[in-house]
């Protein structure tokens, strides 16, 4: 048994897909020239007043319900004060003691079965601006600030310290991402920063119920970074304790290039945010009817959909999990199955060839040129024997590149499978005549040689001969 137990809790920030910012009507559009998506409110100019975007409250409730949280009847905004120029006001509007939602959970799969991870709270806040440094943050002579992102709505989701390994932390993130994406309140793109994560991590002697001193790890910008940084941190902390040292409570940053976490600043003094209720924003009283309206509008969520795929389509659990990992892929699958009723065949093609081509071309399934109906008709051509499985792969690649229908490609390129026995028999006779050595080998019991002859027939017919027929005819004639 391991001598130490790892304890991890995650703080996840998710940008909400509203059109305007949380407290003003500046656009939330990603990118844009520096300091162009701003107005007097998000710049914090004197005399301006923030007003809450109703959609932000609705989206926060929507995400919270999907994460099994209880929605507060009364909620308010607070100022989190700190001296850092990523906010022009020197404070960030957030929620402190009365968040919009608390006490939720989500389930993850672990080697030992399903595990329930508690969600402490979910609250709304404004995103910060972006700082541009020359070189690193500690050596740059000065920093440049772009406030386009300042005021973009965020929800922060804080988990209980229920995660026990870097792998569990990654599963939690993947599940959280899937659920929130399903609700439609965010696109959760880690590469664009609309999904971000900080991790609190500590180790303690196995069997102990007292938490060890934690470090907070920042700059975890990908699933890979999360996994690597946490694995590194587990080793670092255990090593420090084994050497008789102690862990300092501090913020550390993940250095992707060096593969290490580095101390940023001691939190013992800096961690004094002096929260107080924002006097510019009046409280929220959330009516039950509103919450129930939102609950009724929630789509089928990943876990339910996955169970249904096993029950309704008879898919293996693994297929069901992969297909439902994003709403877009699951929708694509269901659209295919609507016109071609062999779910396992559809699943194989989506998880195999389609996923491979999408990855290789760095493309989203929603942008795929092969529409579900077109994939279905390709599978039909295969089932009817119009084309062979091998040819189908070629046609599929062509469809992916051009967006043309399978039938059109098959016709244009003359790829129809040859199932005419007479035509194939002629080729078979030729191949037998010109490969006497292989024929002898087969007669001597060397089955392998048959494969070679099948290959010769396929070659002569440019892959179009019906493979079953070729096999049967060769066997009959040798």
């Amino acid at each position: 048994m391991a001598r130490y137990e790892t304890v991890i809790g995650l703080e996840v920030h998710i940008e909400l897909k509203t059109r305007s910012k949380i407290f003003c009507d500046s656009t939330t559009e990603f990118g844009g020239d520096p300091n162009t998506h701003i107005c007097p409110v998000c710049l914090g100019l004197p005399g301006t007043l923030p007003v809450v975007n109703k959609k932000v409250v609705e989206y926060a409730i929507r995400a919270a319900l999907a994460l099994n949280c209880q929605i507060a009847g009364f909620s308010k905004f607070d100022r989190k004060n700190y001296y850092y120029p990523d906010m022009p006001k020197n404070y960030q509007i957030s929620q402190y003691d009365l968040p919009i939602a608390e006490h939720g959970y989500l389930d993850i799969d672990t080697g030992g079965g399903v595990k329930r991870i508690g969600i402490t709270r979910l609250h709304m806040e404004e995103d910060t601006g972006k700082l541009v440094h020359q070189g690193t943050i500690t050596t740059t002579p000065f920093s440049l600030v772009d406030y386009n992102r300042a005021g973009v709505p965020l929800i922060e989701i804080v988990s209980e310290p229920d995660l026990r390994s870097p792998e569990e932390a990654c599963s939690y993130m993947e599940k959280l991402k899937a659920i929130v994406q399903y609700t439609g309140v965010s696109d959760c793109k880690m590469e664009e920063g609309s999904l971000r994560c900080d991790a609190n991590i500590s180790v303690r002697p196995a069997g102990s119920s007292k938490l060890g001193t934690k470090a907070e790890i920042k700059n975890l910008n990908s699933f890979r970074a999360l996994q690597r940084a946490l694995s590194y941190e587990v080793e670092r902390q255990i090593e420090a304790l084994e050497e008789g040292g102690r862990i300092v409570q501090e913020t550390r940053t993940w250095d992707e290039g060096k593969g290490v976490t580095l101390s940023m600043r001691s939190k013992e003094h800096a961690h004094d945010y002096r929260y107080f209720p924002d006097p510019d924003l009046v409280p929220l009283v959330i009516e039950k009817e509103w919450v129930e309206d939102i609950r009724r509008s929630l789509p089928e969520l990943p876990d339910a959909r996955r169970r249904r795929y096993v029950m309704e389509y008879g898919l293996p659990g693994y297929d069901a999990a992969v297909l439902t990992s994003t709403r877009e892929m699951a929708d694509y699958f269901e659209d295919c199955v609507a016109s071609y009723s062999n779910p396992k065949a559809v699943s194989n093609w989506i998880m195999g060839d389609l996923a491979r081509l999408l990855n290789a071309n760095n493309q989203e399934i929603t942008a795929c040129r092969i529409k579900p109906r077109q994939l279905a008709s390709l599978l039909e051509l295969m089932e009817k024997g119009t084309i062979s499985g091998k040819i189908a792969k070629t046609v599929f690649e062509e469809m992916f590149a051009s967006g043309k229908d399978a039938g059109v490609i098959v016709k244009e390129k003359g790829l129809v499978q040859i199932s005419d026995e007479g035509a194939i028999a002629a080729v078979v006779a030729e191949v037998i005549a010109s490969n006497p050595k292989s024929v002898e080998d087969i007669r001597a019991g060397k089955e392998k040689a048959l494969g070679f002859l099948v290959g010769q027939v396929m070659k002569a017919t440019r892959g179009k001969a019906n493979p079953e027929l070729v096999n049967r005819l060769l066997k009959e004639r040798i």
Partner: protein, 93 residues
Amino acid sequence: MISKKDVDQVALLGRLELTGEEKEMFTRQLNDILEHFRFLERLDTTDVQPTAHVLPLKNVLREDWPGQHMSREDALANCPDRDEDYFKVPRIV
């Protein structure tokens, strides 16, 4: 009781540079303010809900419609230092 060390800490958080005399004065003044609140503490507030806001208002919300931006030149006009399109600030850590 507020000590001189507390005043140092508050000054640091507010990025204020105080003289020795000022520190003593603020220590005294802050303690006077605390004393005043200790007086208010004598009121029985058992049945009083904590106040989140002084105004009898709730749910002041706006619809999610994007509007006009201000020009970058206007935005940068008041800043002490700039570098082309950015606000320029001293090193942070």
